[in-house]
Symmetry: C2
Subunit: 109 residues, 2 copies
Amino acid sequence: MSHLEQLIVSMVDVFEEYAGQEGKKNQISMDELKTLIDNEVSKPEFQKKIHAEDVTKAMDFLDKNHDGVVNFNEFSRCVATLARGYYKQKQGKGGKKGKGREEDEQEDQ
Amino acid sequence: MSHLEQLIVSMVDVFEEYAGQEGKKNQISMDELKTLIDNEVSKPEFQKKIHAEDVTKAMDFLDKNHDGVVNFNEFSRCVATLARGYYKQKQGKGGKKGKGREEDEQEDQ
């Protein structure tokens, strides 16, 4: 499997890993989201990789339509935003008003 | 590394794999994009996973600001859109006007 293909398949796998725990299999419930956050987002290594501000921005994508659950569209946007936060951090642009953050701001809408 | 963390790191790795081939390391040139498409998107297994319509929609995110290169923001959106296409296909919603595609259409904006 090609790298890009593997990436896409993994994104669906991670979503299904959490969405499949209880109730409907095509959405992440608030309990399942809490498990995801506890298992993943709140881990120190994760927090070192992505600035808190970018994690918060990514979490905003979750349940964007306020129906109380997270669908795959919302999850995929959250992952893309987390990856952007990580990439910025890697480029040395992470943090409050790091160099180059401004021109990324409007791109993140 | 947690699954979500691995996913995020892989997204940056795949981007850097192509962006790093020539010229500026933080953007994918049109030549590098062609290599990515030849190596990845045009492979039969890839095409089986994602409906052509969704691949086209995802490609639209690449070089959205028409500066002739693909930055990480554009790449991450393209990957998220490809993943949504794959997820729909997996859910049996892929294809022309498959069941449930309509309500996803506006979500993809």
